[in-house]
């Protein structure tokens, strides 16, 4: 088959460049976002050699080409159209909404950090507990055996995720940037390779080893990037960029070994010689600037830094603050930096808690509540990335709370006698002045919570369940005729053979129709009894008094969503009237999960009937669609 010809014909039929917004492909489908779907001649696209099917779903025109073919056609398509290659995610992003760069950058950081949060929470909690215990033991508040296996092992587990954080970040970033995450992980491993000097020891021992690079042009320090975030993300981004380009230019038979080898080697060299030194210098100069700021009189510097602190957490440079703490401890015996950080962290926790208390969405609550508590323990990432930044306003409210608390700490010269623990346990580092620490905590928490409660958070409209927001379609009472199935949802009716799923299309589950829905409410298609409801709420069975057994299945492969985005209003054995609501579904969530949202309506006992006629095309709710 001629891939170029197929690609050219698709390009012509979808309305050429003027009508194309972006293109991507998955395992079997070419996914296009068009400016105007009406300008696309879908029928003609279906007739093109190699095209196995065409349908439009979740804002994309999806052209089924099959495994092994789709990537070739896609490459030609990109060459012909002159579009830049987009990842599937980018297409989804383009299909969703055009967000500004700042929001996208934040979303990207979130995409990188959110999946690794469980790892850093586990590690971070342990770290907070262990450091508090160690502090108490060292100061003889507590008498436990620190040489026991539990204590020794727990200490080991506690810092594992942080010690190897660049690997976790690199894997996640590789995924987020659309490259091979394992290659990304390799880049992360290179950056903290045991043969490189440990970044933590540089401060005390100085740089021990250097290496000339770029044919002797200049020297770099052979130092690992433990605790670095920015250099890792940049390095992986570069790697993904190289990798994706190589996939395009390297012939398929060499792709498997040439692309990984070249991607890792080139990126690795660039990282250790250019990216690492430059971006870790940037990280360091940010820290230098902070030290100047914090020294400003009347608490002004602390006010500013308390406000900005969480932003530096977002930038990932807070891991280096230990340096400031250590520096201050050696000059003054206490660190004035830690209380400031603690104020900022607790304020973010309070903002997150306010979101948790205010939201009515179970999902948000289940994320926000534990995140808030872990934040009070000093582990801020889940709250900041998982909750506050997503809604943004809570993040700002948290920053204001942090600023207020930090200013107070600075005015009363609150210093901490150690470092490493913020949040509620941070009190243990301020045992010489606990009252001021508590007041500082109360100020930060109070201000952040109150601001977030009043201004900072409102449940997003569509997330709050279709029950209240989505207007219920006007459903006229109808007189059901025997043997008739009425449309459970408004939309476009297609024969079951055209449902984008083999099992449904082949009629294994019975004959019927698919409906491309216009809204997210499924109603009863006739008077009858609910014969089954799936736990995942995406399908119901209903039987009519005259013996039709009907399956209504929302979407294809939506069983994988495990009920998320679906609400079911009926129970097994319940009697319903035509037009009664059965299921509400969130079309955006189905689209986000990458499933078609076609509502499948099948007569599962169609073998019992000689004749089954269907009515295709546009339908309103409760128009007759099947007659047996």
């Amino acid at each position: 088959m001629d891939y170029r010809k197929t690609a050219q014909e698709i390009y012509d039929k979808v309305g050429k460049k003027e009508n194309l917004i972006s293109a991507a492909h998955c395992a079997t489908r070419l996914r296009l976002v068009l400016a105007d779907n009406a300008k696309c001649d879908t029928k003609a696209v279906e007739d093109i050699d190699g095209v196995k099917g065409v349908f439009s779903a979740s804002g994309q025109l999806q052209i089924i080409l099959g495994t092994g073919t789709v990537n070739k056609v896609y490459d030609e398509f990109i060459a012909i159209s002159g579009l830049t290659a987009a990842s599937k995610e980018e297409v989804k992003a383009a299909a969703a909404a055009k967000q500004n760069i700042f929001k996208r950058a934040i979303k990207c950081l979130g995409d990188i950090f959110v999946p690794i949060i469980p790892a850093i929470v586990a590690s971070g909690f342990l770290m907070g507990i262990m450091e508090a215990l160690t502090f108490m033991v060292n100061n003889e508040f507590l008498n436990i055996d620190t040489s026991g296996s539990i204590y020794v092992f727990a200490n080991l587990f506690a810092n594992t995720a942080y010690t190897f954080l660049p690997i976790l970040i690199a894997y996640s970033a590789g995924k987020a940037f659309g490259g091979n995450p394992y290659l990304g992980a390799v880049i992360g491993m290179i950056m903290i390779h045991p043969h490189l000097q440990n970044a933590w020891t540089v401060a005390t021992e100085g740089v021990l080893q250097t290496q000339r690079v770029w044919f002797g042009l200049y020297e770099v320090n052979l130092v690992g990037y433990q605790g670095s975030v920015i250099p890792v993300i940049i390095a992986v981004w570069v790697m993904c960029f190289i990798e994706k380009r190589l996939h395009k230019i390297v012939p398929a038979m060499f792709d498997l070994f040439v692309t990984p080898l070249v991607s890792v080697f080139v990126t690795g060299y660039l990282t250790l010689s250019i990216i690492g030194p430059i971006f870790s210098t940037i990280e360091h100069s940010i820290i230098g600037g902070i030290q100047t700021l914090i020294a400003l009189p009347f608490g002004v510097g602390s006010l500013i830094m308390g406000g900005l602190y969480s932003t530096t957490v977002v930038a990932g440079i807070h891991h280096m603050y230990t340096v400031i703490d250590v520096g201050q401890l050696s000059s003054y015996g206490v660190t004035y930096w830690l209380p400031l950080a603690s104020a900022a962290n607790m304020a973010q926790g309070a903002a997150c808690l306010a979101v948790a208390m205010k939201t009515k969405t179970q999902k948000t609550k289940s994320v926000a509540l534990p995140s808030a508590f872990s934040c009070f323990m000093g582990i801020t990432e889940p709250a900041i990335f998982g909750v506050n930044l997503r809604h943004f306003k809570p993040f700002v409210c948290g920053a204001i709370g942090g600023a207020a608390g930090a200013m107070y700490a600075s005015l009363v010269s609150l210093g901490a006698s150690g470092t490493g623990v913020t949040g509620l346990f941070g009190l243990l580092l301020c045992l010489h002045d606990p009252i001021n620490y508590i007041i500082m905590a109360a100020i930060s928490i109070g201000v952040a919570f109150a601001l977030t409660w009043v201004f900072g958070y409102k449940d997003a409209a569509p997330a709050e369940g279709s029950k209240t927001v989505q207007p219920q379609p006007a459903v006229p009472a109808i007189q059901c005729q025997p043997g008739a199935v009425y449309a459970p949802v408004a939309g476009t009716v297609i024969p079951s053979e055209q449902i984008p799923d083999e099992t449904f299309a082949a009629g294994v589950l019975g004959q019927g129709v698919g409906i491309q829905p216009e809204n997210g409410i499924v109603v009863a298609p006739f008077d009858g009894e609910i014969s089954s409801v799936t736990d995942t709420r995406h399908a119901v069975g209903i039987s009519s008094p005259d013996g039709i057994e009907l399956l209504i299945h929302v979407g294809v492969d939506t069983v994988a969503m495990d009920g998320d985005g679906f609400e079911c209003f009926v129970q097994e054995g319940q009697q319903v009237k035509a037009g009664d609501r059965l299921i509400a579904f969130d079309r955006a969530k189905i689209a986000a999960a990458n499933h078609p949202d076609v509502v499948v309506v099948l007569v599962t006992n169609s073998d019992d009937y000689e004749n089954l006629t269907i009515q295709t095309g546009g339908c309103k709710v409760l128009d007759k669609v099947i007659q047996v």
Binding site: T503, V508, L509, G510, S531, S532, V533, T534, D535, T536, A539, G541, S543, E549, L551, H553, V559, A560, E572, T604, D607
Partner: protein, 87 residues
């Protein structure tokens, strides 16, 4: 009457698609095939798609498959084969 027990390994359990395949496979046999949950709480004829889906059988659950009437020997073997391949 012949019986066998099977533990579902399909990660999403017996949902529409496998239930449909099962109903089709069971219809082709001349025996009555019944599926019963391990705790005996629910039972359904394998040919009844809706009833099977309604059982809500999850991955890791063990079911008893009973084959009665007709060529029990061969049909039971066929059912066992089907479960292994599809569920």
């Amino acid at each position: 009457m012949k019986q066998f027990q099977y533990t579902i390994s399909d990660p999403i359990g017996v949902h529409a698609r496998p239930a449909g395949l099962l109903a089709k496979a069971a219809k082709a046999l001349d025996s009555t095939v019944t599926i019963t949950k391990a705790d005996g709480s629910k039972s359904a004829a394998a040919t009844k798609l809706m009833a099977i889906m309604g059982m809500g059988i999850k991955t890791g659950e063990t079911v008893t498959v009973t084959v009665e009437g007709g060529n029990e020997e061969a049909n039971c073997a066929a059912m066992e084969q089907f479960f292994k391949e599809n569920l």
